[in-house]
Subunit: 189 residues, 2 copies
């Protein structure tokens, strides 16, 4: 069992309906040592995919994407959910359903930082239904870039996201893979 | 001149009205090496304030707060701007004006992660009017914690935030201090 799995068992809360609360070390409070360890692990697993840029979605993807970026020495771009005034009028924009927000959210990237022919490694906190990550894939492809890998801290295999993303045809890595949250429990693959 | 100042002169864009665009290395795309360097610098400047926790605001504060947290080996909490479903009903909430959004935003912290008697180091990307950081100070104080230091990557001294925060009575550190953005230029203190 790795450090993230141990922490999920110790502090993660199964709130029911497939919702895993990891606010004490991932989503609201962040444990920097654990996040750095996960970043190093992603860097190791994706060492040979030839990535030139890391792409994630604000907000909770930023921490794992940044620590991965530090260990791979690559720039990281986080897709914005609202367009700041500093962004140009012409952007890449897609919609993705947010499980925790219960509505569609926009994912926006400026063409300034996602150029043609980048090799994009996508890193996010959760892989559940795969819809947010699929949105990031669409943004990368819209820019003429190619996705070369997908990493998530925590995968909920029972939500089927890995199947949804299989058409992308790239390695998919998760550090903690949860196969069941039935009956208030948390069981890993 | 330090690495952040050099980068601001090289890539920062003065959009007028005091708006500095640093989207290529801080706010949308992040340079992980530069951010790590800034985190190390904050860790050095705040080595002796006795901090037990780092507090920032989503979204753009997360990267510098996380790298500072890595070097100080402290947990980091980012105040949320919308309340996720994983957060309890009873929260610390304050309002702060957002310069780049042109409206008031909520800053929300769960009492689970900001407890009585913490010594809080606040880290953010910008110190401009000081209102966002002052909001974080109110959240810390509402929890019974004490702010022990304030750090920002970039200070715009001409917006007066340092004076606004002087009543907090703690060290205030900025890595790049801009004294003027008149006439399309960027001049450091």
């Amino acid at each position: 069992m790795n450090a993230l799995q141990e922490r999920i068992l110790k502090e993660g809360k199964n709130l029911g309906n497939g919702i895993l609360k990891v606010d004490s070390f991932v989503n609201h409070q962040v444990d920097p040592t654990l996040m750095d360890t996960c970043g190093r692990e992603f860097a190791k697993r994706f060492a040979n995919v030839g990535a030139t840029k890391i792409l994630t979605a604000e907000i909770s993807g930023i921490a794992p994407a940044l620590t991965t970026a530090i260990h791979l020495n690559l720039p990281v771009v986080y897709a914005r959910k609202t367009k700041p005034i500093t962004m140009p009028d012409q952007v890449y924009l897609t919609l993705a359903p947010s499980h925790t927000k219960g509505r569609m959210v926009e994912l926006i990237v400026s063409p300034e930082y996602l150029a043609n022919n980048e090799k994009v490694l996508i890193i996010d906190d959760f892989l559940a239904s795969g819809q947010t990550i699929l949105g990031l894939v669409r943004l990368a492809e819209a820019s003429g870039s190619k996705v070369v890998g997908i990493g998530a801290l925590i995968e909920k295999t029972f939500e089927g996201g890995r199947d949804v993303l299989s058409s992308v045809g790239v390695p998919i890595e998760a550090i903690a893979r949860i196969k069941s949250m039935d009956d208030g429990k948390i069981e890993f693959v």
